[in-house]
C-alpha cells in the first residue's frame, strides 16, 4: 500500500512533495502499522480516507500554486464545520456500493458488446502517452464533481430543501 500512497504523492506539486513528501510517507506508514490489529473494514476505511485526502489535498495545492487562490475560496463547503456524526459513514458506504455496482455493470456491458461484435471493430493501435495525461483527467473529474455538487445544492436550495431551509424550519417549529 505504501507504493500506491507514494504514487498518489506525485499528484502534488514538486515543491510540496520535496518539503513534505517523506514526512507524509512516514506518518502514513506509522498509522498503517498501528492499524495492524484491526479488521479489514477499518483498514479499508483508512485507505479510502487517506487516498481521498491525498487527491483533494493535491488538487488544493495545484490550485494554490497555480493561481494563488486559497482552497476555501474555491470550495466554500470547507468553511462549514457542522456535520453529522452518523450519517456520513453510512452514506459513504451506500455511495461506494452504488459506484462499484455501476463500474461492474459497465465492464460487463462492455465485455458483452465486444463479444457480440467480435472482429467488427477496426484494430486500434497502442495508446500513446501524448493522448492521455493522468493529471488533467483527475482535475476534470474533480471539476465535474464540484459542478455536480453545486448544481445539486442549487436544486435543493430552489426546492427549499437545503440545510439552511431545514434549519429555518427547525427554528420555526421550536418557536
Amino acid at each position: 500500500m505504501l507504493g500506491i500512497y507514494r504514487s498518489f504523492l506525485f499528484l502534488y506539486p514538486k515543491s510540496h512533495r520535496a518539503e513534505f513528501g517523506d514526512e507524509m510517507l512516514r506518518v502514513f506508514a506509522e498509522a498503517e502499522r498501528d492499524l495492524a490489529p484491526f479488521g479489514t473494514l477499518v483498514r479499508a476505511a483508512f485507505y479510502t480516507r487517506e487516498l481521498a485526502g491525498l487527491a483533494t489535498g493535491a488538487l488544493e495545492e495545484r490550485i494554490r500554486s497555480g493561481t494563488g487562490v486559497r482552497s476555501w475560496e474555491v470550495f466554500p463547503v470547507r468553511r462549514h464545520t457542522v456535520r453529522s456524526e452518523f450519517r456520513f459513514p453510512k452514506f459513504t458506504l451506500v455511495l461506494m456500493t452504488v459506484i462499484l455496482g455501476a463500474i461492474v455493470f459497465a465492464i460487463e456491458q462492455a465485455t458483452a458488446i465486444r463479444n457480440s461484435v467480435a472482429g467488427a471493430s477496426p484494430h486500434v493501435g497502442p495508446i500513446q502517452p501524448v493522448h492521455f495525461t493522468f493529471l488533467p483527467a483527475i482535475l476534470l473529474c474533480f471539476a465535474c464533481a464540484y459542478v455536480a455538487g453545486m448544481v445539486g445544492w442549487a436544486i435543493l436550495f430552489a426546492l427549499r430543501r437545503s440545510g439552511l431551509h431545514r434549519l429555518d424550519a427547525m427554528n420555526g417549529r421550536q418557536e
Binding site: H16, E19, F20, D22, E23, M24, R26, V27, F28, E30, A31, R49, E50, A52, G53, L54, A55, T56, G57, A58, E60, E61, R70, S71, W72, R78, R79, T81, E85, Q174
Partner: protein, 107 residues
C-alpha cells in the same frame, strides 16, 4: 491564513500544538482523542493545513533533541497562540450567548 472562524480541523491542530510541540502522527492521534474519534484527519488534510499554518507564521518547525526517527516536530508561534486565544474567546462568547438564548426560551 484565513481570518477566523477557523475550520474545525485547523482549530484542533492548533489546540494539539498549544500543549506541546508535536510531530505529524502525534497530531493525528491527538486530534482524534480530543474529538472522541469524531474527527480523523488524513495525512493529506493534515499536511495541507500544516503548510498553510507554516506559510502564515502560526506554527514553526521545532528541532527536537532526539532526531533518531527523523520526525519533524511543529510548535505554535506567539502569533499562532494569540490567534488561537482570539478564536477561543469567540467560541466562549458564542456558547455564552447560545446558553442565554436557550435558557431564556426554556424559562
Amino acid at each position: 491564513m484565513d481570518p477566523i472562524p477557523l475550520s474545525e480541523p485547523v482549530l484542533l491542530i492548533l489546540m494539539s500544538l498549544a500543549e506541546e510541540p508535536r510531530h505529524g502522527y502525534s497530531i493525528l492521534k491527538d486530534v482524534s482523542t480530543m474529538s472522541d474519534g469524531r474527527v480523523t484527519l488524513s495525512t493529506g488534510t493534515l499536511y495541507g493545513a500544516l503548510r498553510r499554518l507554516l506559510d502564515d507564521g502560526w506554527i514553526e518547525r521545532f528541532e527536537q533533541e532526539d532526531t533518531s526517527r527523523g520526525r519533524q516536530a511543529y510548535r505554535l508561534t506567539a502569533n499562532g497562540r494569540r490567534n488561537l486565544q482570539t478564536e477561543i474567546r469567540r467560541l466562549k462568547h458564542l456558547t455564552r450567548v447560545a446558553s442565554m438564548r436557550v435558557a431564556a426560551k426554556e424559562s
